[in-house]
Symmetry: C2
Subunit: 422 residues, 2 copies
């Protein structure tokens, strides 16, 4: 099966900065096999003469099922106060809730041009089912909370379920110890060893709030990243979320240990956690990716909005961030964070055909003075017309192909009413 | 002609904070005549059972025609550097350019739920034509630059054109001296007197950058608002844009003189002008409205995005701004800024039927835990389904009724190509 995307304005996010050109993209068996003037015969031709083609966006930190708690109790003063409202609801959730919510979350991500997400939640098997149904790629973090005894159970569970995706390269399981304030040192050590033994990635929250840092210094005599480094967590392949309060020293450690930071600007702002020092991170050369966090602290899963908010918050703090740097965060840096830099994150020959086509016949792109600027500063998800994952069209004309969004929403509303009664 | 909007979830933005209820809205001759359980007979019934109804948004500071320069030279380090790129282009613009650009700008505003905008630009007569064509209400600032000699010409021009709108209450002309760094003291005095004589509002840029404040202190020995107060500009009815660097003393002056400040969060961020002290302004009780500024420094005219960015930037600075306060900025506070508080800005009996219906059958509103939160934190302009201005439907199912957006964009692209060749 060959697909030819014709006459697109391609922003490949490849090795050349700010690069874009008019061209075609030839796809075979889910892979990009040629980019440029290619005009080979294909089974399917996609006319992209009014489209910009960009690599599928990569959301490196979310909790998909938390769409359930969108706009719920969101007037809380900080992360701790908000979590105290959220945890009791989470205790009531079952697999069907998670599935219904993940269906909506996955749909919402595709609608904003996201083709891969890194999740961290319970009932990951049901989030996997939802991702398959919608046709989005996923890295599912097996969430771990608590002490070694609890962790033993969870890791046994992980061992049983690790091959639930049956080798489908679109899916992968990572280990996701929640945070240093919810997991013991022993837990992180067990996670480290298990991850190394089974060649798994570790996804954890890190340095999200000032309180976390203060408590870490009080309890361990070290800031959070120094603490995790002291127990050699980063011997396993890691990526961390937030990093709002990382010191220069900690950023240097993370860079040296090949640990990426998922920047979640909306969630950090909304929960008053502070502002991630993006300028410092980019100057140090840390790999910074982008995350929406859960919709309950965002309050949606819109990767275009997230790029925009990242740019606005950085600029408001006095840092003239480049649109292209933001676009990289949402694409190639995300691929690098998840270890997919050879397969995803850019439109280049040999990579997976995860491609987003944006309609340039929209006010945001009119006139089209600078496509990269337009993508970050003007465009919204409404411009996302078509999304391909491994060459398969999962959205066209803004309609999802795998699922009916109205029935997804109906299902979720019913489920949420039921949860509130429990 | 009577229209009945049925079964909407109404967020009226009336005197009661955080108020919303399910109800109907009865419209006659462009006015809201009843809100609530009313079920009178009507010529037209709008089924809004899956809709939220909010007052039409009010954009209190923009330069509509600058959509021409969207994403153009937007890598400049600050306002001054950027203006040095923009002014030479503006020198080349003619009335047809302004009309073509204003058509797109007006369309874009309607598509984001905006029903009134306050503009400041050249060839205001052509922006008026465009606003009429699209069906949006406008306050057109007659831009004034320079010294008294230049101002004399412009005011004569204003006197000639003041009734160009032929008494149509949807339109009004204001005087718009550009800024204290482009207009002389004599100019501001002439504007003050002319405005008082003809009962016109004055719309000016104020305290946008640190440089403006420093130069003001150097030249006049006073900060910008103190300077304008010293020449009694505020004896005329004024509203100012930006106010990024206002001191507490200046905010107190503005409050006392009934001067509103249009907050333009995206533009201020993008041009590294700084961050408007929203918390301080709200605490002092200043009337803060919202503006997109021109699309060339934003880079679009999306009022939902602007609300969102305002909330995110305030939160990132540590201020837990209420969603409802942001919604007020975009509605009733905007009406108050422009002197329309009795006619616009809320869904109340006796007011103009400027109403926006948002489709709640969209992920942003699913589940619908808190409509006000959802409007500010989750929703995007894509949720805006229907827009009424004075009871007339100017957009339905996201399609503009007065104009074909594709031909508007084609026209603008042609015009822009032509400008670049001049």
């Amino acid at each position: 099966m060959r697909t030819l995307i014709k006459n697109a304005l391609i922003v490949p996010v490849d090795r050349e900065d700010e690069h874009y050109f008019k061209g075609n993209i030839l796809i075979e068996n889910g892979k990009i096999i040629e980019v440029g003037k290619t005009d080979e015969k294909a089974d399917e031709i996609v006319d992209a003469s009014h489209m910009i083609a960009i690599p599928g966006l990569i959301n490196t930190h979310t909790h998909l099922a938390m769409v359930l708690m969108r706009n719920y109790k969101d007037d809380m003063e900080n992360l701790q106060a908000w979590l105290s409202q959220i945890f009791p609801i989470e205790d009531k959730l079952n697999g069907d809730d998670i599935y219904a919510a993940s269906l909506l979350g996955a749909s919402e991500l595709i609608m904003s041009g996201c083709t891969t997400f890194a999740d961290m939640y319970f009932n990951y098997d049901r989030t996997l089912d939802a991702a398959r149904k919608v046709g989005i790629k996923a890295v599912l973090g097996l969430t771990i909370f608590g002490d070694e005894k609890e962790t033993e159970k969870r890791l046994a569970d992980a061992e049983r379920n690790m091959n639930l995706h049956q080798g489908d390269p679109r899916y992968r399981f990572d280990l996701a110890p929640h945070a240093i304030y919810t997991c013991t040192k022993g837990t992180y050590e067990m996670v480290r060893d298990f991850a190394k033994e089974h060649n798994l990635f570790v996804h954890t929250h890190l340095s999200e709030t000032k309180k976390e840092v203060e408590d870490s210094i009080k309890e361990f005599g070290m800031t959070p990243a120094v603490y995790l480094d002291s127990i050699n967590l980063f011997d396993a392949r890691c990526y961390v979320a937030h990093g709002v309060h990382l010191t220069d020293q900690e950023m240097e450690i993370l860079k040296k240990k090949n640990v990426s930071v998922a920047h979640n600007p909306s969630s950090n702002a909304k929960l008053l956690s502070g502002t991630f020092p993006l300028k410092k991170a980019i100057n140090i050369g840390l790999n910074v990716s982008l995350g929406t966090d859960g919709a309950s602290s965002n309050n949606n899963l819109d990767m275009f909005e997230e790029m925009h908010v990242a740019a606005m918050i950085a600029s408001a703090s006095g840092y003239k961030v480049k649109a292209y740097d933001i676009l990289k965060m949402a694409t190639i840096n995300g691929a690098r964070a998840l270890g997919y830099e050879n397969e995803r994150g850019s439109i280049e020959e040999g990579k997976d055909a995860d491609i987003v086509l944006l309609n340039t016949d929209t006010p945001s792109f009119c006139p089209l003075n600078n496509p990269v600027s337009a993508l970050v500063f003007s465009a919204s998800s409404e411009c996302v017309d078509t999304v391909l994952v491994n060459g398969k069209t999962v959205m066209k004309n803004r309609m999802l192909t795998g699922i009916d969004i109205k029935s997804v929403m109906d299902r979720l509303r019913m489920q949420w009413e039921d949860i509130k009664k429990r």
